[in-house]
């Protein structure tokens, strides 16, 4: 498997790119120290000569210079590179946590429903149907403030950590169904196979059968589905922050940079390019990685 994956050049390259993004996210404080700037300081306001009287960067191309590699943010004059790096950190943290929770829940529910079958399967199936009938985008937007109000009484500021927690929670609750459904189907067909029958006959416990017989056969769908899920969660989270129900100022966030960019595009189009290109590269790399993982694990599929 590993050898097959290594032979797939686009897969290896995208794996490196994906790893790079995670590395950037993890080492954000270090990067900002080396680079000598942080995402919250308003350089443009503190120093004259960076922003003009309308709050736009003086230097061409959004104020890109040797000092500000990705330019200066209009109005507040923060450094775009560190904003992006920390924004990626926030978004990837939320998306990764939500994806891990979704995968765990999906595996748990899917395997349970598929293996036990009968009434349990029926009830879980209807529950999944119900959750799937929720208009997803709308529900993310509608329920996020409800969960905020669970933690914090109305009228008070929600601390950032709680906002992050809320987003993870909402993305989790409305995100695990696809995985569960996929795995239920897989388990349903595996359950009838001879090796599972054999294990049953020899008196293996259900837990052992699930762990030793079923799970090894499920790694491929789990891995493939997870690699496809993570980038979509990233874009959903960014979308929430874009419309203003996700992460708020002053915490840097990938999605919020698009919201800012949409404000400034008429005078400073450069600003939105960096988060935009970064996101395209990230999602393309992740999708290619997903395809390669599938090809490596399952040689029958042809693209």
């Amino acid at each position: 498997m590993w050898r097959r994956f290594k032979r797939d050049r686009s897969g290896v390259v995208s794996a490196y790119i994906v790893a790079f993004f995670f590395l950037v996210a993890v080492t954000a404080p270090l990067l900002s120290k080396v680079y000598g700037k942080n995402p919250t300081e308003t350089y443009g306001l503190d120093e004259t000569g960076l922003l003009n009287e309308f709050g736009y960067p003086v230097a061409p191309n959004g104020g890109i210079s040797g000092r500000f590699w990705f330019g200066v943010e209009p109005t507040l004059g923060r450094d775009v590179l560190t904003q992006l790096v920390y924004g990626i950190r926030t978004s990837l943290l939320i998306a990764t946590a939500a994806t891990v929770l979704c995968v765990l829940t999906g595996v748990l529910v899917g395997v349970t429903a598929g293996y036990i079958g009968g009434r349990t399967d029926y009830l879980l199936g209807r529950f999944i149907d119900l959750l799937l009938a929720f208009p997803s985008q709308l529900s993310f937007i509608a329920f996020t403030p409800v969960v905020y109000s669970l933690f914090v009484s109305p009228g008070k500021e929600t601390p950032t950590s709680l906002r992050v927690l809320t987003l993870i929670l909402v993305l989790w609750v409305l995100g695990w169904m696809g995985m569960a459904r996929l795995l239920r189907g897989q388990v349903l067909s595996l359950r009838e196979r001879e090796f599972v029958e054999a294990a049953k006959v020899t008196g293996a416990s259900p837990w052992r059968i699930i762990r030793k017989e079923l799970l090894p056969n499920l790694w491929t769908p789990i891995l493939v589905q997870s690699t496809l899920m993570l980038p979509s969660v990233v874009t959903i989270e960014a979308g929430l922050s874009f419309i203003g129900v996700g992460i708020l100022e002053p915490t840097p966030d990938w999605g919020r940079m698009f919201a800012n960019g949409a404000h400034y595009y008429e005078s400073d189009i450069t600003y939105i390019f960096f988060p935009g290109l970064a996101m395209i590269i990230f999602v393309v790399a992740f999708n290619l990685l997903g395809d390669s993982v599938r090809d490596a694990f399952d040689p029958r599929t042809t693209r």
Binding site: P135, L138, I243, F258, A262, Y265, I272
Partner: protein, 325 residues
């Protein structure tokens, strides 16, 4: 067919009732104090109690839910006056009947969705068939890489770039806006063009990829080979035999996409400042206008459920192998 439809409609009603109940309980039973939200900053306990009474918020939540649902069908009497039949209550933020606002906003969402859907369906499926017909050639490779990128684009990025280039850069078009088609079809068209294009770019990738793989799968089926062996022309085989088999899954996904878009093309509307249902949902979230939010949720989930039923019916129509039972 009729029995199938009746069963599906019944199931759909159950889903709608369940979702509305869950949503209602989440909104009104949690410690979010709806009255406090609608009361504003300077609020006295007396004013609060009055609002609670006027909105019927002093009753237990299940009773409130019953009144709410009943109000949709028979109207409802508030102390401020009578709210006629499809009554979704009064908005917390502007004190207008919610239903009026929904009716106001829906044409915008409908225009974005229908126009965008026509573009992405025609172009996406067209590209997919082209790629399947020229499988392995540069045409196929070109469109494959294009759809890979298209699949990773986001409306909140492409939309802003489109505005920057087409509107403020080249001055080819005005800012997107909604004009009723009944009044001025030309303006309606030009005002919607950018949203349609941007929405399509995102969806085309998906549809072309799916059409391509479906067509390729169908072209290797036995019945297609038989048709070819009979000496039918390439075109007949392609369009009459393979195409028909490839259609069903595309219709399924199309129905689901359409359903979720009807509930509000939220990010599209937000990016282009169009006042449709999605925008309404976002603004009612930021104003904690629960009755409006509740109504948008109901409309959105009804749209999805209806879309699913239509898809199932269409499926049976396209593919006679599917038995409706």
């Amino acid at each position: 067919m009729l029995r199938f439809l009746a069963r599906r409609v019944l199931g759909a009603l159950v889903i709608i009732v369940l979702i509305s109940a869950i949503t209602f309980f989440l909104f009104f039973a949690l410690p979010s104090e709806p009255a406090l939200m609608s009361c504003g900053k300077n609020c006295t306990p007396d004013a609060l109690a009055l609002i609670d009474k006027n909105l019927g918020l002093d009753q237990p939540v299940p009773v409130q839910y019953w009144h709410y649902m009943a109000g949709i069908f028979v109207g409802r009497d508030f102390s401020v006056g009578h709210c006629p039949a499809p009554c979704f209550g009064y908005s917390f933020s502007n004190q207008q009947p919610v239903w009026g606002t929904i009716v106001d906003r829906f044409p915008t969402t409908l225009s974005i969705t229908v126009g965008g859907a026509v573009v992405f369906l025609v172009v996406g499926v067209g590209i997919g068939m082209l790629a399947a017909a020229f499988r392995g050639t540069w045409v196929d490779k070109f469109f494959s890489s294009l759809s890979l990128i298209g699949n990773s684009l986001q409306i909140y990025f492409v939309g802003v770039i489109a505005l920057a280039v087409l509107v403020s850069g080249l001055h080819w078009m005005d800012n997107p806006a909604y004009y009723p088609i009944t009044e001025n079809p030309g303006k309606w068209f030009t005002g919607m063009l950018i949203p349609w294009l941007v929405l399509s770019i995102i969806f085309i990738a998906n549809y072309s990829r799916m059409t391509r793989s479906q067509m390729i799968e169908q072209l290797s089926e036995d019945h297609v080979r038989t048709a070819r062996a009979k000496g039918l022309s390439r075109r007949t085989v392609f369009f009459r035999y393979a195409w028909r088999g490839a259609l069903a899954p595309i219709v399924t996904i199309f129905g689901i996409d359409l359903g979720s878009l009807f509930g509000g093309a939220i990010i599209t509307e937000f990016t282009f400042s169009l006042h449709g249902l999605g925008r309404l949902a976002v603004s009612s979230v930021s104003e904690t206008d629960l009755p409006t939010l509740m109504a948008v949720m109901l409309v959105g989930c009804t749209a999805i459920v209806i879309a699913n039923i239509v898809v199932d019916a269409a499926y049976a129509f396209i593919d006679p192998r599917v038995r409706l039972a």
